[in-house]
């Protein structure tokens, strides 16, 4: 269906090629996963397949691209539109219409389909993606999962045989993500569509895909099966466990790993419950947030102790962000109070709050605005009235030393987050609020963020982190709060909330079935 011959790609102004001499083939009806570190050429690879690279991204392309037996090297995206459907990371940013129906027919209109044919195809694709009952809805009313379905449907409406998706589940909670991945599998295996998916969170798709493409940082690309994950560092816990215990062949599915574990369970150490302070750092009482007619948060009360990491979990739209912003004081708060050592943050000025608590928003890069790392760090010192370079000390303790001349936008997502943490903590805030910090981070970056958070905890900071990333939460949290439609429905120790029998167990607890065993780091490696 698709063949790439000796394809190389480089962006202008960089020496390192994003992709170098790539030879790949994809069969009709193949479901393929493309993975690689953040900043590797995996998105570029996807964009080459429909002409967005180089026509929209810039850069230079060599080699040839054959789709459906035809050499289409150098074609523009609209010339490939009838063959290839493309779905972006954020569907809402690519919608062109007001209602679902208009959005679905948009592509067919551009390709000049007759009305009758459009009606037929519209029905067909709506049925395929199970969105028949949404056709007359405005796009802005849809949930994240529904939006993603509409985006996929509109990419396939004109009968495209190839579907490309760039991190389609990154903004979705686990349930919605699992549904979308199931839909993709049936598109490939029952309807013969070639589905190529770029995804960071391998565990969400790994059991369903036919092949794996790995894009290395030097631009080399390999395609094959699961065996590629041996000695690969960006893997989910299930594969990590397989490697640690030297299972052969490598195990990627939770159910296969379960069997292996039952045959020869590994040894493990219990969770170390470091002594928790009894002192309350933050006391949230009856917090409510309502926007016009919608109650986003209703009467939420909880405490966070000194030196404790608390995770706030829940589906998209359950009110996690609203809770964080309402606590911080910059967001809307309808009723309720937050008690800290220095009073309620709502009553403090923006600058005073930074001495008490600090919030890192979903798009951490919004907080950066100068042209070099050095400028950001020294501006921060000046703002905090520090004479020594306190900000760089925090930053270096988080990530190590980096070239001070580098532009903050050129840092990796993980390094940007560390920089923002340093800037936000320099005034000595004891309470840290994090909103979905793992979005867009690969496994390695997530692990290093978890380490940073644990280090801050050791210094006595209290952390409240909103996330629906179960594995990440298991690495950092002492306690887990769960929100459902704005209400606090559970408040448990991490071992209970993420362990055996919980509603969202970690992969390791699913595999081992051992209470108190949550993360890979607890399992002791077996030498080969």
């Amino acid at each position: 269906m698709i063949a790439l011959h000796d394809v190389s790609f480089g962006y202008a102004g960089t020496e390192r090629p994003a992709l170098s001499r790539v030879n790949l083939e994809f069969q009709p009806g193949e479901f393929s996963l493309v993975c690689g570190a953040t900043g590797s050429g995996k998105s570029t690879l996807l964009r080459i397949l429909n002409g967005l690279a180089p026509h929209f991204t810039g850069g230079s392309l060599s080699g040839s691209l054959v789709i459906d037996g035809e050499d289409v090297t150098g074609s523009k995206p609209h010339e490939l539109a009838s063959l290839v459907g493309f779905v972006n990371q954020q569907p809402e940013s690519s919608f062109v219409s007001d209602t679902v129906k208009q959005e679905l027919v948009y592509g067919m209109e551009q390709l000049g389909f007759k009305r009758d044919k459009m009606t037929d195809l519209l029905k067909h694709v709506a049925k395929l993606l199970e969105i028949e009952n949404l056709l007359d809805r405005p796009l802005s009313w849809l949930s994240g999962g529904q939006q993603q379905r509409v985006a996929i449907a509109s990419a396939l409406a004109a009968g495209q045989k190839i579907l490309l998706l760039d991190e389609p589940t990154s903004a979705l909670d686990p349930e919605a993500a699992a549904e979308i991945v199931g839909v993709l599998k049936s598109l490939a295996h029952q309807h013969g569509i070639t589905v190529i998916l770029v995804e960071h969170r391998i565990e969400r798709v790994i059991e369903l895909v036919d092949s794996v493409v790995i894009v290395a940082n030097d631009g080399l690309v390999t395609k094959g099966g699961y065996e590629q994950f041996e000695n690969y560092h960006l893997v989910p816990p299930v594969i990590g466990l397989s490697t640690e215990l030297s299972w052969s062949p490598i195990t990627v599915s939770v159910s296969a790993a379960k069997d292996n574990w039952n045959q020869s369970p590994g040894s493990w150490k219990p969770l170390v419950n470091e002594h928790l302070s009894e002192a309350v750092a933050m006391d949230v009482k009856d917090l409510s947030v309502s926007y016009e007619e919608l109650d986003a948060v209703s009467k939420v009360s909880f405490k966070v102790h000194t030196g404790e990491v608390v995770a706030l979990m829940g589906k998209n739209g359950s009110g996690k962000s609203s809770v964080l912003w309402a606590i911080q004081g910059g967001g809307k708060r309808s009723t309720g109070s937050v008690k800290t050592q220095f009073g309620d943050p709502k009553s403090l000025s923006a600058a005073e709050r930074l001495c008490v608590l600090t919030l890192v928003p979903q798009k951490a890069a919004d907080l950066l605005f100068l042209n070099s790392l050095a400028d950001e760090l020294s501006e921060s010192d000046k703002f905090a009235q520090l004479t020594d370079s306190g900000t760089s000390k925090i930053f270096e303790s988080l990530t190590g030393r980096l070239d001070p001349k580098i532009h903050p936008r050129d840092l990796s997502a993980g390094q940007q987050l560390a920089l923002v943490l340093a800037l936000q903590l320099v005034k000595g805030a004891g309470i840290l609020l994090l909103d979905e910090p793992t979005r867009g981070l690969d496994y390695a970056a997530k692990r290093s963020l978890a380490k940073q958070i644990r280090a801050l905890r050791k210094e006595g900071k209290s952390v409240l982190v909103a996330s629906h990333d179960v594995e990440f939460v298991a690495l950092v949290a002492d306690r887990v709060l769960e929100l459902e439609s704005g209400k606090l429905v559970s408040d448990k120790l991490a071992a209970d909330a993420l362990g055996v029998g919980a509603s969202h167990p970690t992969q390791i607890s699913q595999i081992t079935g051992v209470p108190g065993l949550l993360t890979l780091s607890q399992v002791e490696a077996v030498q080969k």
Partner: protein, 318 residues
């Protein structure tokens, strides 16, 4: 109670046409009354018809810009003051004379006449009226729907247009997010902090506009059939003529010295536009699932625009 009309009851093209007509009226008119009428009509339309949408949050920005232009114009008149002995003096400020080392010395301030003040205010009001009428269109017209109705004749610049049309509303929502983020760093939300917000806001707005354009292109926007080489050349020439004559024509009208020539140029420009669209649509393959129907509200807006345009040509506003 009858259903209230909101902005989306009419096509975005109608809003833009009305806005352009109002801007033309404001441009040709010499009377302050007309300018004030145009300003208030724009504001009333925004307040009456706007919907809860990201692009309708830009009103404050346009109002600020309009106010700034009026004040700047008047201040300019006071500072760079050309005195005419026949005028009545309104303000008697001490005059300065600055010698720049070349040319005659520059006279600043001095006795400011009523006439200078009022002509400064009228000039400022004219620009303000144009700004507000464009502001009306961009607050009321859904940029995405407008983009969808872009004739494929304009394809050669369509990607650029799609980025541009989407940029202003996108910038406003980016601005709101970045300001919120900045307040997290304890920085003020005031105007002084604008410098720091420009980079992230622009970057964000351009990124998202580009991603929209990329998505449209991926779905076939810009597809066309084949045209012979000579037709392609003719289409390009007529597009070029259209843009050229329309700009020179509007300039002539705004400057006000050569009204007839201005109208002639605009007429040629409009003719060239139609020619270009006509030739290009031969290569058009785009179809419509639901044919665009002229709504009652559209008809109302379009006839209002036509009336305004005729009145402007007949010189009622001068």
């Amino acid at each position: 109670m009858a259903k209230r009309f909101t902005a989306s009851a009419a096509s975005p093209l109608s809003w833009w046409l009305l806005a352009i007509t109002m801007a033309v009226v404001a441009g040709v008119s010499q009377s302050a009354l007309t300018q004030i009428l145009v300003c208030s009509a724009s504001l009333i339309a925004i307040l009456m018809f706007r919907e809860e949408a990201p692009w309708s949050r830009s009103v404050k920005f346009y109002l600020f810009l309009a106010g700034f232009v009026v004040i700047a114009r008047v201040l300019f008149r006071i500072a760079f003051n050309i005195q005419n002995p026949e005028d009545t003096t309104a303000l008697n400020l001490p005059g300065f004379s600055i010698n720049l080392g070349f040319g005659p010395p520059v006279e600043l301030f001095g006795a400011v006449s009523v006439e200078a003040l009022s002509s400064g205010a009228t000039d400022g009001l004219r620009l303000a009226a144009i700004i507000l009428s464009i502001g009306m269109a961009s607050s009321l017209a859904n940029p995405r729907t407008l983009l969808k109705s872009t004739p494929s004749a304009l394809y050669e610049i369509a990607s650029a247009i799609s980025v541009a049309i989407n940029l202003a509303p996108q910038m406003i929502s980016s601005l709101q997010r970045v300001r919120k983020a900045r307040s997290l760093r304890g920085r003020s939300k005031g105007l002084g902090s604008m410098a720091g917000t420009v980079i992230p806001v622009l970057e964000d707005a351009i990124d998202s506009s580009l991603s929209l354009a990329a998505s449209m292109d991926s779905r076939g926007f810009g597809r066309r059939g084949n045209l012979s080489k000579s037709l392609v050349l003719a289409a390009r020439l007529s597009s070029l003529m259209a843009v050229g004559f329309l700009s020179v024509g509007s300039f002539a009208l705004l400057v006000g010295q050569t009204q007839t020539l201005g109208w002639v140029f605009i007429a040629i420009g409009i003719f060239a536009t139609f020619a270009s669209i006509r030739i290009n649509s031969k290569s058009q393959i785009r179809t419509r699932f639901e044919p665009v129907k002229l709504q009652f509200f559209d008809a109302l807006i379009l006839s209002l625009s036509a009336l305004l345009l005729i009145a402007a040509i007949l010189g009622w506003f001068e």
